[in-house]
Symmetry: C2
Subunit: 361 residues, 2 copies
DNA sequence: TTGAAAGCGGTACCAC
DNA sequence: GTGGTACCGCTTTCAA
């Protein structure tokens, strides 16, 4: 279609002048500028990003590397990033690393970023050594979200602290039999968060002289459906915890669902706590530890822009965002009961509401 | 970093030979080829997409234009598209049109696609005439998802049929007082789906001699939270419908939540039906009309690839995917009741489960 | 089979 | 203030 040459011809000037006039840099006489602008508009001229990028060496794109993209947390982070970048004329290059199973992922390669993006934002996946060297060779600014990596600025919450808050709430409510939902992937290089949260959970328990037996640990894939499936099996057992702490709200939803299907009252028979404050957490009255996911995305976008504009802060910043305990209706003190006399009843319809009663009843 | 010239030097051949060897086209002697490959690997050479694209005129990118990106439906479609495109070495350029309010959006511009993508997939937004001419001027293949546009292949469900199924279920269950959740944006050029679904709902009702008064129509923004807010006001009224049909599962979630907070039994006091089969619909036992969203994304990606490879089918295909009624626990026949004697009770805790009882009790 | 060279569409330096 | 022109890195004739 229209090239800069066409505009030059139409405006009766040289391509150099068109380039200057269009970008508003350098001095161009107002009259010439107007003629050029008119011609450009007339011809629907838009500069070819390929050509611009070839000569300038920059792309105005930022690679966003995400382990899953079709999950609330990641989509929300990306959305935050995108809004900030767009304000400054940058766009997002989506690099989805989703593999075939929960604990595999695609590698970060040079060709997904090289000359395609001016910087990279990595969501939650700790790069392998080989991936690190790719990133270093690329020589572009990197910002991480969700965990801290040496040498790169980061935006995140303190996963251990968040989980400690959730676990402590369970203990403070009087629970002593506490289950956990949230697998740690086989490879820690896949995701750090599952590891940190689980470790923190175990730590807080043991600090309080408690422990969570393996059969109360739901090894699910961080989806609601996966958690529901495992929780269903848990609730089939004669004895199960009075509270389940889930490493994410989505898993917590699955646990709540399984409880209801078993005719169990939440929180009467079992309390459920999540982490995230998922967009549906309030709707489903889930007690959780809130993090502002989109804000983290926006901050990561901003840090990237700063780095791109050479406004690198002298020291590498590690921005740890606050979390906030949101106590809602899914938690309460344990109901005094033995495994025999608990109020379980047959669910009359799949998923029908269970019992009536306030948490304290 | 490394350019084709560096590789040529290292391999002791010309850049032309490097180019040929690396892409496996044309004849290159095996020995030369090996030397080039070795040098390229050694130097971590990756061709600059900008340069390649400048000369070839193609980018191996496909623009995906979406009204919102951080919503389950759209993220899932994009995920499906991305998986297919990636297989053939194409990548996704995300163009998020999200505006500041539910019924505004950013325009589709030439500069977001021009020389950046080889084709465009448009999700659910009917282009304005001016946007159509941009797309036509660009001369790239276009595929639409979610609705049909003249001249372009499309992948979608029949929104009217889907809503008719949902509405008919309500009627078949015996409901006569039926409410609706799902605003139609002020501008029909924003989204077509809300319009189609609402119209179909109204149509089926009137075919059955029924109607939905304005005060039972929840004008919410297609989010769970928005629907919950409006449903809360509805349930505050002395008289409200025995069934609410929501134009999306997310809104249905909001309605269910509001019902529970009002101490209402679902489906005893009020039935709820959605459309989509959202990833959490089964978990929350929501009756809905299922569509396979990711499959639609994959098909759209495939159609795009076909067009890109010149395998254009002679006639423009309009692929209408099947939907499937999923009857779950959120629906049942209306309980015989007047507005005075219904089983409403004070919610003991926000969101506490309501009553016990099978749908038929 | 391989190399030289002419672009692809811009930008930026250097004259005028 | 404006025009000429040498690249940016790669692909693709055209010759050798």
């Amino acid at each position: 279609m229209t090239t800069i040459g066409d505009v030059a011809k139409a405006a009766g000037v040289s391509v150099a002048t068109v380039s200057r006039a269009l970008r508003g840099v350098d001095r161009v006489s107002p009259r010439t500028r107007d003629r050029v602008l008119a011609a450009a508009t007339e011809l629907h001229y838009v500069a070819s990003p390929a050509a611009t990028s070839l000569v300038s060496g920059r792309t105005r794109g930022v690679g966003v590397i995400t382990p899953y993209f079709n999950r609330w947390f990641f989509a929300t982070v990306v959305s935050g990033i995108e809004k900030i970048l767009r304000e400054e004329g940058y766009h997002v290059l989506l690099c989805d690393l989703e593999g075939h199973t929960f604990d595999t992922r695609l590698p970060i390669t040079q060709s997904m970023l090289w000359k395609r993006a001016d910087g990279a934002i990595i969501l939650n996946v700790p790069p392998l050594p080989s991936e690190r060297s790719v990133l270093e060779r690329l020589g572009m600014p990197v910002v991480t979200v969700g965990n801290q990596q040496p040498g790169w600025p980061s935006v995140r919450i303190d996963d251990r602290a968040a989980m400690a808050i959730a676990t402590q709430l369970a203990i403070d409510l009087g629970h002593r039999e506490i289950g956990y939902a949230g697998t740690v992937p086989a490879s820690i290089t896949h995701l750090q968060t599952p590891f940190d949260r689980r470790e923190s959970f175990t730590q807080v328990l043991s600090d309080n002289g408690l422990e969570c037996p393996p059969e109360w640990t739901l090894e699910c894939d961080w989806t609601a459906a996966g958690a529901a499936e495992h929780a269903n099996r848990l609730f089939d057992r004669p004895h199960f915890p009075t509270c389940i702490v889930a490493a994410s709200d989505e898993m917590a939803f699955g646990v709540m669902s399984a409880a209801r299907r078993h005719g169990l009252d939440v929180p009467g028979d079992v309390s459920v706590i999540g982490i995230d404050d998922h967009v549906h957490a309030e709707i489903f009255d889930l007690t959780t530890v809130r993090q502002d996911v989109e804000a983290q995305g926006r901050r990561a976008g901003r840090l990237m822009l700063d780095a791109l504009h050479g406004r690198d802060s002298a020291n590498i910043i590690d921005e740890v965002h606050d979390v906030q305990l949101m106590v809602r209706g899914s938690t309460g003190p344990p109901r005094r009961r033995s495994s025999r006399t608990r109020s379980r009843r047959a669910a009359t319809a799949v998923g029908a509401p269970a019992t009536v009663g306030s948490p304290a009843s």
